[in-house]
Symmetry: C2
Subunit: 212 residues, 2 copies
């Protein structure tokens, strides 16, 4: 007799409700941001009762926090995995491609994957206070980029690499949020990558008058 295998239909229904609310919240957060989300719009979309939010999450705020944190973790895990797959001999183009790939894939795929990216991008603009659980993964991701970037750009200081990394990340986030991203979404992942990776790589490399 293994308790874990017991299927309590009530708990399953509750889990479905929670997932539905979380997904609906993510969708609206990705479109309108934290300020533009309303309780009833979420519950309507999820086919749930308004009271379900208080019951399962405590409040609308907590539901949004949960949805955002879930999205952030998916994003960071994806990004770290992509960077870790790089060999130490990775060229600048390889680094830029790995850096951009999660966003490229999300743009091409659309749907929930893109909702995740858009929500993460919005959080980059309006960062929630009092979140520190994912700080480690954030730092891990940043250090990962600088680590594989540095060998390709020996003349650039670490501080400047950091700045360029954040610029490149901002550029990708912008694509997720702005209309140009929607235009890109009509293309295939390969086409988006061909267009975008040179720009990211160029931002990493930088271009100073002394180069010529």
């Amino acid at each position: 007799m293994i308790p874990a295998e017991k299927t309590d239909l009530r708990r399953e229904a509750g889990q479905r409700t929670r997932d539905g609310l979380r997904t609906a919240a993510l969708e609206l957060l990705s479109q309108r941001g934290q300020e533009g989300v309303t309780l009833r719009e979420i519950t309507d979309r999820a086919g749930a009762n308004v009271a379900a939010v208080s019951y399962h999450f405590g409040s609308l705020k907590k539901l949004c926090d949960t949805a955002i944190e879930h999205a952030l973790e998916r994003y960071l895990d994806d990004k770290i995995l992509e960077l870790d797959s790089l060999a130490s001999t990775a060229t600048l183009h390889d680094v830029a491609a790995a850096f951009a790939r999660p966003m490229v894939r999300a743009l091409a795929a659309g749907g929930q994957d893109l909702d995740v990216m858009r929500t993460v991008a919005r959080v980059g603009i309006d960062p929630p206070q009092g979140w520190h659980r994912l700080d480690g993964k954030f730092e891990q991701s940043r250090r990962g980029v600088v680590r594989v970037l540095a060998p390709n750009l020996p003349g650039v200081g670490e501080e400047e690499l950091h700045f360029r990394t954040r610029c490149a990340a901002g550029l990708l986030n912008w694509l997720a949020l702005a209309p140009i991203g929607t235009e890109l979404a009509a293309l295939s992942a390969e086409q988006i990558e061909r267009l975008l990776v040179p720009v990211v790589a160029g931002a990493f490399r930088g271009d100073t008058p002394a180069d010529h």
Copy 2:
């Protein structure tokens, strides 16, 4: 007797109220975006009565539209002026510097200049429908960039130049909105420029494996 020189104190007071409301609206729009702005917060900040918004602008929506359009026009005029000042012999670095300068100045100056940039950036994410009055200036600005960019990048197609221009603009907009912009604001305009222009120029130039 010149009617234009008559000072009707009532009209002057009304103009002050309008300006105050518009400024307060811009400030809040730059911080929270269109969804996060409330009537009473604007009127409180402007020291005006709630009815003043309906009286002078018709509705909160129209006040916001006015504030946004005002900001957009200031931004576009500034940008076009900066690009027009470029000689035909401008280097890639010159182009990038001119392209980034309005944002660099706003970041260094802060205050209302930065509010304008932030609001413009937010509009880039959530574009208002039914606005076409400034379409011409928008196109003028875009064509201006491509025009001075093309001689520096003979191997890159016009479509790709357009894409890179939009990426670079997105990068700048991101700086205006995200916390990294606030961090930059501690620096002088020269320091920001030294850090940022190479990144913008690099994004323009692009970087493909064939280059090496």
